[in-house]
């Protein structure tokens, strides 16, 4: 029983991390039909620069961590906005080329990060409380899990509120459904492209800092390996659906934890099979609209 609870809660924690990456991917895809292979790079740079600044402010302190998170968000958002404005925008409506450009950017940035920070993972210092555990129904849950879950929940709430109660949110929701009709109402939908990139980048950058807390290190590859999981989550959840991304993040991560524990470390394999299964039964994902 303890094990089940432990796996469940840590699964949700890992899912929180996936969500931070997948939410942006899903929004970007939903609105722009661009599968963003550079998204992992947003995460990595957010994590690395967040760590660089945070440790100077206060290594292993709450102040340092909070600064890291703010820096991570800002860096991720900035990187994403530059990507959209400089590279994606010029290839308006040429989706294959847009994907290819993000592939190139992803590859190039990982190499650049390796050049700057080296190829090995760098161990990071944690706030003391985050190193401890809290007992829930007999299961000893690592405290950093609570941080991941609460931050992701805040991000989810913030994005939902933004989408529901602002004009740009309205434009984005409408654009995900039918972008052509949004422009045919006289709205310059490109501004909201930049915006979803900024939001997605900020969430990913924040995810980078939290990944460093979760794994206890930062590295030039962190984003790329996380990206594959985020893709799987996004597709299972339904491309373009934020709720789908949230639900699938948790499902996938929990499934992965259980399979890793009970089925001899086959978590990665199981979620790939789950992806294939979902796609064959429901090609548009759990919450996705029918893909054209």
């Amino acid at each position: 029983m303890n094990t089940v609870i432990l796996l469940l809660i840590t699964g949700v924690g890992l899912g929180a991390l996936y969500f931070l990456v997948a939410s942006g991917l899903s929004l970007i895809y939903g609105l722009m039909h661009v599968l963003n292979f550079a998204h992992g790079a947003f995460l990595t740079l957010g994590g690395l620069l967040g760590w660089e600044v945070g440790r100077r402010v206060g290594d292993g302190t709450w102040a340092g961590l909070i600064v890291s998170m703010l820096v991570g968000m800002a860096v991720g958002a900035l990187f994403a906005v530059v990507t959209e404005l400089v590279f994606i925008r010029r290839l308006y409506n040429r989706h294959i080329e847009q994907v290819l450009v993000t592939v190139g950017l992803g590859i190039a940035s990982v190499a650049l990060f390796e050049g700057i920070w080296g190829t090995d993972a760098i161990i990071t210092n944690k706030v003391p409380w985050l190193r401890g555990t809290t007992t829930v129904l007999g299961a000893r849950i690592p405290n950093h899990i609570w941080l991941l879950i609460s931050v992701a929940a805040l991000v989810l709430a913030a994005i939902v509120l933004f989408l529901r109660y602002t004009r740009y949110g309205l434009i984005i929701r409408a654009g995900v459904e039918n972008r052509t009709m949004v422009t045919a109402l006289g709205i310059d939908v490109r501004k909201s492209f930049t915006l979803v990139f900024a939001i997605g980048g900020a969430a990913a950058g924040l995810g980078g800092v939290l990944a460093s807390v979760y794994y206890g290190n930062v590295s030039a590859h962190q984003g790329q390996s996380m990206l594959i999981y985020a893709f799987i989550v996004t597709v299972i959840g339904g491309l373009g659906s934020l709720t789908g991304a949230a639900i699938a993040s948790v499902l996938v991560a929990v499934l992965q934890q259980f399979a890793n524990f009970y089925l001899g470390g086959t978590g990665d394999l199981i979620i790939v099979l789950a992806l294939a299964g979902v796609l064959l039964v429901r090609p548009s994902g759990l919450m996705g609209r029918k893909l054209s």
Partner: protein, 354 residues
Amino acid sequence: MSRIKIVLGALLVLFAALLPRLNLSIPGVLPGPTYTPGTLQILAYAFLIAALALSYHLVFGVAGLLSFGHALFFGAGAYGLAIILRRLLPAELPPGTGLLIAVLLTLALSFVVATVVGSVALRVTGITFAMVTLAFAQAMNVLVRRNTGGITGGEEGVSVTSAMVPSFLIGVRNSANLYWIALAILVVVYLGTLWIERSRIGTVAAAARENELRVRVLGLRPYTVRLFVFTAAGVLAAIAGMGMVLLQSGTTPRVTSADFTLTILVIVVLGGVGYRWGAIVGGMIYTLLDKRLSDLASSDLIASLPGVLRVPLSEPVFILGMVFVLVVMFIPGGIAGLAERIRPQTEESAHGQR
């Protein structure tokens, strides 16, 4: 294809075949004269990458399927051959016979793998197809890294020792033989690609890329046609993968990684989507450039630069990645497209023969 082209192609192959017996140097491109093992090794590697790129050209360029899992089949060829040689063949078989059997078994295996993956993945289209193929390739990557069943060797990969292959394929002395095998593989894959592209199925697959409706109207199922092309491309990729095992005396998980698939994609786009010779030229240039940029990275010139320049310039993959981005943005059609535009309407280039 005109007769001139066939003759030119044959001469080019003949010339390539003679290189190990010639003393040609291209400073700055090749590390040494063409008869030296180091140069032959690099050229052979480039041929195999070009062959792999050609097979991907069938999937992406001809059938228009954006697959992110093509490395899976290269990996299936590489791991299939290495594992069969190492584990499954009775030790008393003479190496030559053993290799032949292993190659045939691997071909059959890769055919099955490609058919299964294709028949599942092709049920969806567009970006979802891309994701499913990525997921399959990732599953394979996870499997081999995990050292599944104790046969894939985990991060180490699988090595092939001298007892398992004929002696003429082993050692630095025999680089020329390996070079010729790589060249032969490139030629075989080229002819296979050409044949499929020219066949009725290839034509229909290309038509389905442009307009699925028209193909359906003809009473053909795009699914079947695509599956055929996808599977054939998978088998051709596996052939290239087998060549790599012989060339490098084994295989590592890298050849199954998503990064490797992306590299192939980059190569095909650099060379020019839709052009057979673009895939070959892209594969050759990418490999040689990668090698040269690595050498440049460790040169004194680079070491003397200030950090802002030194760090990016000493990462070949960074440079290649950015070059790729620029090509996608500013040179649609890649190298082949550019060449086509420079000499626009000469004899055949105006119609067909892409």
